[in-house]
Symmetry: C2
Subunit: 288 residues, 2 copies
């Protein structure tokens, strides 16, 4: 199938690579052209100078960029993908955005007989590289069925969760859970350390029971060692929690802990820790 | 070995039963004698009218009662276990108490040549019944080695974590983690429901990734159905978080989220929900 992939960051680069390796005809676009050239050289696909050129004649156009403004630019902007997307093509946005933007893109697509899915991912860089992403999807069932086999080139799990915007809302649910888990784990590890316990030993024993979490299994040892230079940058977490808090404000949904943790992340970001992994929440407690 | 078990609640009753089934000579004490009689009838052990009588001549005395005052009463009180415990016997307290009380009991035991372990458990009623508890232990390595084979009658995992009080501190670490996980999960599920998502479907997809937790796997479906009449009563969680918050205050350890969640639990308790499972945190959000 003729595919287009827009955005070759740490996620998009290997994702587009999986599509090419699966035998599809893939044309990529990236803001920094050198990255697109490197990709084309590595995987043997083609690259285009604008999103519109990349989208031209594509059956499915994938987008995976940074934030709402980036998505608007590559989809709606001058030489944006929508200007060149043909009727009956499918547009899939893997960027984590506001639900509002997902619905807005969907409306614009409907007007041009284009199908749209909002499809934010989780699983991080490792998930993208190993083709083991989880994808939360909003859109029409038929569109989902058509795209699902292609998504499986880089996903271990995909699920349609409702109409346009539902993928983004589900991603917010994911991030709200993580905020609570990581803050609890931070207070717990800090408490253990300051109480004179061997935090690794305590985590080993409590990780068998009701306190267990993915974050405990994958982040506690680095938290104990004060290592945060890896993983999911809290700059991105602040962006994602912002979407959740905006939705909450708009619809009168109480998110008190999420609000608290968001303020902690912003404090760390202000102090220069924006690229640290989300588990860096513990650094605020260490200082007190 | 000659063992004594004091406190036949939903935890102690089956725990003492496992000791008897393993072939030990077990004498039990319970405040309500009928429970002790029922236990003796079910397992074929003996029961005593006071903690002192139960502790008489025992090699190891186990305690598993409600709170600090209950522990003080059965250990230090008139006809308490310590009054009849022989030198070189071992006292094991499975109650979740303050670290202060654990250290106090330890001092009293040292003065009488008795060995002491604080050994709070996790795993709930099911863990006690199935012999699959996790036990966090404070005390001397030699004492731990002597008791470990007996603990394995009802534990799947035991670990010595430091001197007297360390088991209690580790249990606090466990409860702090749970507070964060459950509050995050509550806000997330409530957000999903109010945003019109199928919360079960969202949980299914996000439970494969970084938001995963034991609580998500074991409590989200009942939270979605508003069922809380089971599990670990939040009355007990308030007791446990109180110990952690006291330790935090005393040692200047920041526990902001724990404090917030504790206040939510107290609000639910005040409204009559004290016997509900800890996952009932979501009910506060539902009302808003």
């Amino acid at each position: 199938m003729k595919l287009s992939f827009i955005g070759l960051g740490v996620m998009g680069y290997p994702m587009a690579g999986h599509l090419k390796k699966a035998g599809h005809d893939v044309c990529v676009y990236n803001r920094t052209t050198e990255k697109a050239q490197a990709w084309a050289k590595e995987y043997g696909g083609s690259y285009a100078p604008t999103p519109a050129d990349a989208a031209q004649n594509a059956d499915v156009i994938f987008v995976c960029v940074g934030n709402d403004d980036d998505v608007r630019s590559v989809i709606f902007g001058e030489n944006g993908a929508l200007s060149a997307t043909g009727a009956n093509a499918i547009l899939v946005d893997h960027t984590t955005t506001s639900a509002l933007l997902a619905r807005e893109i969907n409306e614009a697509c409907i007007a041009k007989d284009i199908k749209f899915l909002d499809a934010p991912v989780s699983g991080g860089q490792a998930g993208a590289e190993n083709g083991a992403l989880t994808i939360m999807i909003g859109g029409e069932p038929e569109t989902y069925s058509n795209v699902e086999p292609i998504l499986n080139c880089y996903a271990k799990k995909t699920k349609l969760l409702g109409p346009a915007g539902s993928g983004q809302l589900a991603k917010m649910v994911n991030q709200i859970c993580i905020a609570g888990v990581v803050q609890g784990l931070s207070e717990a590890i800090n408490f253990a350390q300051r109480s004179g316990l061997d935090a690794d030993a305590v985590i080993e024993v409590i990780s068998k029971g009701a306190a267990q979490s993915w974050q405990m299994e994958n982040r506690s040892s680095t938290m104990i060692k004060n290592e945060f230079d890896f993983g999911f940058a809290l700059d991105w977490m602040i962006k994602d929690l912002g979407f959740a808090l905006d939705e909450g404000d708009k619809n009168n949904i109480a998110l008190p802990m999420t609000k608290l943790v968001d303020s902690y992340y912003k404090e760390i970001q202000k102090n220069g820790g924006g690229r640290w992994d989300t588990s860096a929440l513990i650094t605020l407690l260490n200082k007190k």
